[in-house]
């Protein structure tokens, strides 16, 4: 962050830095993968106990009510300290959505469990034939007494095989955006089968989920039956802003710098200009995110601007990791991270994982179409 920090912000940064220094377990620092729940969730809970797990949530919902600047400070320090990745579907997606649109019962049941780390969530949106074109989804739900009975198939479900709950879009009637219902599904319900999918990065970050006569109480519907599209998209800008935060670019920059630090002084000098380019790029993403977030908070005109943030942040991450591969030189293709003493240095893991960034959350091609048609007002395209 470039701006001059206030005394309070400086104090917060140093408090975060020293707490992270003392509290991140050594074996979880600078990991190449997001750790499995057995490792990730104790860390999640530690952050939660410290009060920093949900910086962007209002205090009334158990969050920190942090300003965008405080959030950026947290992200920069988490990246710098090499803190492990945690699951975010609860924190960034369903949590804020329930705060806005959930029933009192739904809020009481779910919000504190998300903050405490007692419930892991996954998102059931994509289907084999409904990815970027989400409105073509066909997973069906019929109403029987006071239940929805769901049959169908969801895919690309991040952490679906670890999740306790899924928030999903299912078709209760109609076509396209009409007749879609937003529902919360307990993953322990009978009739659910999960099959992990191995990614090009070699991890099983996501899975597919099959529904066979899965019975979900109607009280788990968020909003009205058939109004799910509206519910799901009501926080779209907010959600896309989480895909455009400074967190991932800072993580990528830390990886790049750790690779550069292994080189001889002479070689380091050769890469200096590129590293500077990456630093400028990270500050650009941070500036853009702060700008949009601060205007979002103030309630002035950010509609669809999240699309530009998503494009900017995800493509910046990829460009920094492309650079990192070049810096890694002949180590770039190694299966295992490079060990330098007791330091584990990621070579290609995050690079491989980052290929998904420009695909998920609405591919960057979709985001560009949104920018062209809705922000730049270019006529004739699909809106």
């Amino acid at each position: 962050m470039l701006r001059i920090e206030s005394p309070n912000e400086r104090a917060f940064r140093s408090e975060v830095r020293s707490w992270l220094d003392r509290n991140i377990p050594d074996h979880l620092r600078h990991l190449t993968f997001r750790p499995q729940p057995a490792d990730a969730m104790p860390w999640y809970k530690a952050l939660s106990r410290r009060g920093w797990i949900a910086p962007h949530w209002p205090v009334s919902a158990g969050g920190m009510g942090a300003t965008p600047v405080e959030q950026a400070i947290l992200m920069e320090e988490l990246a710098q300290a090499g803190a492990p990745d945690i699951p975010t579907q609860g924190l960034n997606h369903i949590g804020p959505l329930l705060i806005k649109a959930g029933t009192p019962e739904q809020k009481a049941m779910h919000l504190s469990r998300i903050v405490n780390g007692d419930a892991i969530w996954c998102q059931g949106y994509s289907e084999p034939n409904a990815g970027s074109d989400l409105a073509s989804l066909v997973t069906r739900a019929r109403i029987e007494d006071d239940h929805l009975v769901i049959n169908g198939h969801k895919i690309w479900t991040t952490w679906g095989h670890h999740a306790h709950w899924m928030f999903a879009l299912v078709r209760t009637s109609g076509k396209r955006r009409d007749g879609i219902t937003f529902v919360l599904i307990d993953m322990a319900t009978s009739g659910i089968t999960r099959r992990p999918i191995v990614t090009i990065a070699g991890d099983d970050e996501f899975c597919e989920v099959f529904f066979d006569e899965v019975r979900v109480p109607l009280s788990n519907v968020v909003g009205e039956i058939g109004q799910g599209w509206k519910v799901a998209t009501s926080l779209l800008d907010d959600e896309r802003m989480h895909l455009g935060t400074p967190l991932s670019v800072n993580r990528a920059l830390v990886r790049l710098k750790r690779l550069v630090a292994r080189l001889s002084k002479q070689e380091q000098a050769r890469w200096m200009a590129r590293v500077t380019e990456a630093e400028i790029a990270v500050e650009t993403v941070t500036a853009a995110w702060l700008d949009v977030s601060e205007r979002f908070e103030a309630g002035v005109g950010v509609e669809n601007e999240s699309s530009y943030l998503k494009i900017l942040a995800t493509e910046t991450v990829q460009s920094i990791l492309d650079m990192a591969l070049e810096v890694a030189g002949s180590d770039a293709a190694r299966c295992e991270p490079v060990l330098e003493g007791n330091k584990r240095i990621d070579v290609n893991e995050m690079f491989l994982q980052s290929r998904r960034l420009t695909i998920y959350g609405g591919s960057n091609e979709i985001q560009r179409s949104i920018l062209a048609t809705r922000v730049l007002g270019m006529g004739g395209g699909r809106g």
């Binding site: 001059i4 400028i280 941070t286 500036a287 530009y308 179409s369 730049l376 270019m378």
Partner: protein, 340 residues
């Protein structure tokens, strides 16, 4: 993109009105082969108070904050102002700091004496100065030059009438000019020395960079808007070009880069007077330069053959964009300025 306050909106509007009245791109077309300073327009700019826009009202300036100045500079380049306004405003930051330059400051603000900043290597021999500056845009216009030698931490004020001063400048493609100031046994006094010079030099350099970054963002936004308008009206294959996805994807990429450069510009302004000031100014210039160059090239492509003609104004913006970045030694040089 950052939302402007009421005050900033007024500044932007009045700048737009001013430049519409003073010829905009037509003025540049009329004068571009002369490569001479447009004294009349410069005086009008001075009459607006803009040369002293960052100087406090008690010191005879307009007392704008940096953010407001950036809004104004974006507007000047949208209307293709090629005058060395950024340099003159930046020089004012040093003039105001030294009581001994009170008179020069007043003349600079009023437009009677155009003072530009330059950096170079100056040797002193018995009170006589020799050496040369780095290339200075708008050199032909300068009445006086505030010269910094960062190595010896010296600061000098020389004017074109002094014996031993050579101010040869080459024409640049935007209609301006650029050249090195050469000193041969010039009888001129050192105005200041030591740490205070280091600080003033940094302030002036960073201020010029961020003001020029604003000009570059302005150019990017302007050509993006022009391309957008053209694509809406131009039809081929029976449809507006704006409806073609291949075109939409590309113009969206231009928007992303220009919007990001603008966000960085205003974030950089909040770094001023802090420890990251110089990094921020260079970073803002670098990204703004990249975005503006990208936008100009794409805008030419979007216009097709007419984009390649001299008749279309987009070419003028590309040339201005190149002149601004070249005057800093190019984007690569600005970036290595950070790395070193």
């Amino acid at each position: 993109m950052p939302v402007w306050s009421e005050q900033e909106r007024m500044i932007a509007d009045s700048a737009a009105d001013f430049f519409k009245a003073h010829g905009s791109t037509d003025r540049i077309r009329r004068r571009r082969d002369l490569h001479e300073h447009d004294r009349e327009t410069w005086q009008s700019i001075a009459d607006q108070g803009w040369i002293g826009m960052l100087i406090s009202e008690s010191e005879g300036g307009l007392g704008l904050d940096l953010r407001e100045a950036l809004v104004l500079m974006q507007q000047t380049s949208r209307f293709l102002t090629i005058e060395p306004l950024a340099g003159a405003i930046a020089a004012g930051q040093a003039l105001v700091a030294l009581p001994s330059l009170r008179k020069v400051k007043a003349e600079a603000i009023s437009g009677t004496c155009l003072v530009l900043p330059a950096w170079g290597t100056i040797a002193q021999d018995g009170g006589k100065l020799s050496g040369h500056s780095q290339p200075l845009p708008g050199l032909r216009a300068a009445d006086s030059v505030l010269l910094f030698d960062d190595k010896s931490q010296g600061m000098f004020l020389v004017n074109r009438s002094m014996k031993g001063i050579v101010m040869d400048a080459a024409p640049t493609i935007d209609g301006g000019n650029i050249g090195r100031l050469v000193l041969r046994d010039v009888q001129a006094e050192q105005i200041a020395t030591g740490a205070s010079v280091r600080n003033l030099s940094r302030t002036v350099k960073d201020t010029r960079l961020i003001l020029e970054a604003a000009e570059l963002v302005g150019i990017g936004g302007e050509v993006l808007g022009r391309a957008r308008a053209y694509l809406e009206t131009r039809k081929q294959f029976g449809v507006a070009l704006a409806s073609l996805q291949a075109v939409q994807q590309r113009i969206a990429s231009v928007h992303v880069q220009v919007a990001a450069a603008e966000a960085l510009l205003f974030e950089a302004a909040r770094a001023f007077e802090g420890s990251k000031q110089s990094f921020a100014a260079r970073a803002a210039f670098y990204r703004a330069g990249q975005a503006a160059h990208f936008a100009c090239r794409e805008a030419i492509q979007f216009h097709g053959a007419v984009g390649f003609t001299d008749e279309l104004d987009v070419g003028l913006y590309l040339k201005r964009c190149l002149a601004i970045t070249a005057a800093q030694g190019g984007l690569e040089a600005v970036r290595s300025g950070i790395a070193n």
